[in-house]
């Protein structure tokens, strides 16, 4: 615990120093990034220690603000979330140190590093806070810091717009959290989590209210549908290493909050689990579908964050159902799958965003239809990105598969769920996950294919350059992590055991038994993964042997008889995704523009597809407009006429007099 606090302090101090040293960019960069890396390293050590010891260390000091106390603790759950936070933040800092040089002449980067390290520190504080006020303060600092990171490039009006959307969304979400913590602390008369836990569970109605408040409040940060609208706006416009941190880690803090809330609340009734599963399925499927429809690389990735958060949520929901159905295996599998996916998603989403950043950095565009052929120009990035893509699609032998596999097992439920009423909600998860997997495959074959393969579609893409070591290294590390967690999942899930036992409250005997049940298939998975890789290598060697000594020619791609193919004839992302989108047409609000070729010698023809987010178009904008009109209807109150103003006073006075005389005097 102390170590972690040291890490927090280190982050904060280094950030501040970087801000002070803003005048000397080099120094400020070293201070900021270096401090970030050092702090994150410390944090990782602390977290791993806590996980292996499976212990809880708490500290409590009094803090002179109303209802506040500086009580923090590092229990397995917190420690588990510290892993991705520190891992991703550290790596992103290394990456960012190089990435930001592009802005050298336009921006002072001291402030950036301040907020970056502040973000990391505040996330750690949120994870460890054990007092409502402390939690809220850290939470809001986190949101603000990330906001200022998002609007780093404030020359662009779009960036500011997106940032504002984000700030407002997160602020509204926080409003629900305020309510949540206050209501939660009512029985205890204190906002310390310990006291709340001691005070015993609230009645069912209050618990339900609390659950909803937490779901909305934390769900907004996590980006659950339909609370996700800010996410695809804000994540793309931020500098890429910030996008990585936000998309891979900060949304997870929302998940952490949800889990923490569930621990503080009484055991969940089945309907909570059902609700989570429902939301998870919606977020997952719609998330991936919208992702499929995007042309902006980073926006696409942002929507995939929504999808993966959906997967995590339905894993959690599965766990809750397991608990309430007395089905320990389902509970353990669901929760551990979800939490494992938290880590995995952090790794591959971080990797993907860093990759996207490298692409944007090298080509100056994020528009898929302008990219292509980058795997020749930046092979390492391409390789790493490919690993991330395979991982996010959830294919063996990588980590994405391992965690989804656990959720699948939980969904099948074994002998535990014989009653249809219980089994059906769980079984719903299966086709949903399958569909998500399939669609994710569509989406990422599209991304990898259009960005890295084929011929470049524009000069920018053709002129792309290697990103350099500082930017490549973090990606390679993350890729290695994805592979490692895919090949040896059981090794990681072992660390998860104490965490899961916190979430599913069951006696250790049954619990450990179930954990063993969950472990067996994982060992097999790791065996298969290694076999798969071995086979691939063997075949590669075989091929080499076969081709050795034979002539291996190169020529143009077979154009099916057409001899003058150009890069612009390639399939674009729009055309690749079109069949799928057309099939799911009812779910989209699509604007298609088609300039059909005409005549014998058509001059120009074009096809493009814009999809807008229905949640935003149909839910939020109308609501805001309505409120706006409602309030604007009162603006005649202040038209500048003095005697009208005094009339208000007179009317108020007379009204009050009459009211008083009528009501209070018999």
């Amino acid at each position: 615990m102390n170590l972690l606090l040291v890490a927090v302090v280190l982050l904060f101090v280094s950030g501040t120093l970087a801000l002070v040293a803003g005048g000397f960019p080099a120094l400020s960069k070293v201070l900021g990034a270096g401090g970030s890396v050092a702090g994150c390293a410390l944090g990782l050590v602390a977290a791993v220690g806590a996980l292996t010891r499976a212990s809880t260390e708490a500290l409590g000091y009094n803090w002179d603000v109303p209802y506040g106390s500086f009580s923090v603790a590092l229990d397995p759950l917190s420690a588990w979330f510290v892993l991705p936070i520190c891992g991703i933040c550290g790596l992103s800092a290394i990456y960012g140190a190089k990435y930001l040089d592009a802005y050298a002449e336009r921006k002072s980067r001291g402030a950036h590093w301040f907020f970056f390290n502040l973000l990391a520190a505040s996330m750690l504080m949120v994870i460890t806070a054990r007092n409502g006020v402390l939690f809220l303060v850290a939470w809001e600092v986190m949101s603000l810091a990330s906001y200022f990171l998002v609007v780093f490039d404030d020359d662009d009006e779009g960036v500011l717009e997106a940032g504002r959307t984000y700030l407002i969304a997160t602020h509204l979400g926080t409003a629900f959290l305020l309510g949540f913590f206050i209501v939660l602390g009512q029985r205890a008369g204190s906002l310390d989590f310990a006291a709340i836990a001691a005070a015993g569970p609230p009645d069912a109605a209050t618990a339900g209210l609390l659950f909803l408040l937490a779901l909305v409040g934390f769900g907004t940060k996590a980006g659950l549908m339909p609370l996700h609208v800010w996410l695809p706006e804000a994540h793309p416009v931020a500098p890429s290493h910030v996008s990585a941190v936000m998309s891979a880690v900060m949304v997870k803090v929302g998940i952490y909050g949800l889990v923490r809330a569930l621990i503080l609340l009484p055991p969940a009734p089945a309907r909570w689990g059902g609700l989570l599963i429902g939301i998870g399925i919606v977020s997952g499927i719609l998330g991936v579908l919208f992702a499929l429809a995007q042309h902006d690389l980073k926006r696409l990735l942002a929507y995939h964050t929504v999808e993966n958060i959906g997967i995590i949520t339905l894993g959690l929901g599965l766990g809750l159902l397991g608990v309430s159905f007395r089905a320990p295996l389902v509970a353990v599998l669901g929760v551990s799958g979800a939490l494992f996916h938290v880590l995995n998603h952090a790794m591959f989403k971080g990797l993907l965003f860093l990759g996207a950043g490298a692409v944007a950095h090298a080509t100056g565009t994020r528009d898929l239809d302008l990219l292509g052929g980058l795997s020749k120009r930046m092979p390492w990035v391409a390789g790493a990105f490919l690993v991330g893509a395979v991982a996010i699609v959830g294919l063996p032998p990588l980590n994405g598969f391992a965690s989804e596999f656990l959720i699948y097992l939980g969904a099948f439920g074994g002998e535990e769920l014989s009653d249809p009423g219980q089994a059906v909600p769980c079984l719903l998860v299966i086709p949903a996950l399958a569909l998500m997997g399939g669609l994710a495959a569509v989406c990422f074959t599209k991304v990898v294919g259009v960005v890295f393969l084929g011929e470049p579609r524009s000069e920018q893409a053709a002129g792309a350059h290697r990103p350099g070591l500082l930017m490549s290294l973090p990606m390679l590390v993350l890729a290695a992590g994805c592979l490692l967690c895919g090949i040896a999942p059981q090794g990681v899930v072992v660390l998860l055991v104490p965490v899961v036992s916190q979430v599913v409250r069951m006696d250790l005997a049954t619990f450990s038994a179930q954990v063993e049940n969950a472990m067996v298939p994982l060992r097999w998975i790791s065996l298969v993964a290694s076999v798969l890789i071995g086979l691939a290598l063997a075949l590669a060697v075989l091929r080499k042997v076969l081709l050795s000594g034979r002539e291996v020619a190169t020529s143009g791609t077979w154009g099916c008889g057409y001899t003058r193919p150009t890069a612009r004839m390639q399939y674009t992302s729009s055309s690749f995704a079109q069949p799928t989108i057309l099939f799911f047409m009812p779910l989209f609000r699509i604007r298609q523009t088609l300039i059909a070729p005409e005549g014998l010698f058509p001059q120009r023809a074009a096809f493009s597809m814009e999809t807008s987010d229905p949640a935003k178009e149909l839910l939020y904008l109308p609501a805001f407009r309505w409120v706006g009109r409602l309030l604007a209807g009162l603006r005649w109150l202040q038209r500048g006429h003095l005697h009208i103003y005094i009339l208000y006073i007179g009317v108020t006075l007379v009204a009050l007099l009459i009211w008083y005389v009528e009501i209070h005097i018999p």
Binding site: L395, G438, A538, T580
Partner: protein, 306 residues
């Protein structure tokens, strides 16, 4: 694990190409031609393995990695499938999920290899392939889920054994599942009515167009992988359909083999009697298959209740 459990694998590795041969022969018969010899695929494979290769300038290592990874994925998938009364060498709770995702892996790399060529035709095929398989996956996994719930086991081998024991009263469920499985099989292996393996117009192709640029050993890998995939999925259906146990291992094996070639013939017949569907009809077929699987799952519970 016993030696017997390796028989299905060996069988798959050796007999899979023959299965394709049988299909082609059946089609030839229906078309009134002599058709290629049954072992044609073996000849092709040998010839291709002996050849050099020509690569497009556009392509990168992804193009070369495609066939390799696809083949190895399918190979691993083959080690999960039981045959006759032999359990698979690789069996553990949840291996059915692994099976589905291995096929997915194979597909993804085929598609990527296709996109690596930068040819618009191959892109076209790829974009169709991914949609269809995305829709096929739920059908497949739901069908397997139904059987899994029925036999209370998450391993294909155990499911197979389990079905055998309750074949008598298992009733409609396996049949429905098999129907769904066959649709999936036709899709995954791009047979008629989903795709026409020996059409000659690239615009209409799905699978074949994706491998246009491959040659030599790579193409051999692809052909072999395709054959294996066909065999594996076929075995799965046959296992579901004929889980009868005579108690004599060999008899079961023969029954299963017979089933396989029956299936091959069936596919051939379908191909030579049906026309391929319009591209935009295919998704409906797949959704239909998913519904059938779902129905099977519901039935499982229906039986559980009564």
């Amino acid at each position: 694990m016993d030696i017997g459990s390796f028989v299905p694998l060996v069988l798959a590795l050796t007999v899979a190409p023959l299965f394709v041969g049988v299909i082609n022969r059946t089609k030839a018969v229906f078309a009134g031609r002599v058709g290629p010899p049954l072992f044609q695929i073996y000849y092709d494979l040998r010839k291709l393995l002996g050849k050099g290769a020509v690569y497009s300038r556009t392509t990168t290592w992804v193009f070369r990695a495609g066939p390799i990874i696809s083949l190895s994925a399918v190979l691993v998938a083959a080690t999960i499938i039981p045959f006759g009364s032999w359990a698979a060498p690789l069996r553990f709770p949840g291996d059915l999920v692994l099976f589905v995702y291995l096929l997915g892996l194979a597909r993804v790399f085929t598609v990527l290899a296709a996109l690596d060529t930068g040819s618009s035709f191959e892109g076209m095929g790829a974009s169709r392939e991914v949609l269809y398989s995305a829709l096929a996956e739920p059908a497949l996994i739901l069908g397997l889920a139904a059987i899994a719930r029925k036999t209370n086991s998450l391993s294909l081998s155990e499911m197979h054994q389990g079905l055998g024991s309750l074949w008598a009263e298992s009733g409609l469920v396996p049949v429905l599942v098999v129907v769904a499985l066959i649709v999936v099989l036709l899709t995954e292996n791009s047979r008629i009515p989903v795709d026409d393996p020996n059409t000659h117009l690239e615009l209409t192709m799905i699978h074949e167009v994706m491998v246009l640029d491959h040659g030599g050993p790579d193409f051999a890998f692809i052909m072999y992988a395709a054959a294996l995939k066909l065999w594996v999925l076929g075995t799965l259906s046959v296992d579901m359909l004929l889980p009868a146990r005579s108690g004599v291992v060999l008899v079961d094996a023969v029954v299963a083999l017979a089933g396989m070639f029956g299936l091959a013939a069936l596919v051939g017949i379908v191909e030579s009697t049906m026309a391929r569907l319009r591209l935009n009809r295919v998704p409906q077929l797949l959704v239909g298959a998913t519904m059938i699987s779902a129905l099977a799952l519901v039935l499982v519970y229906g039986e559980a209740i009564k």
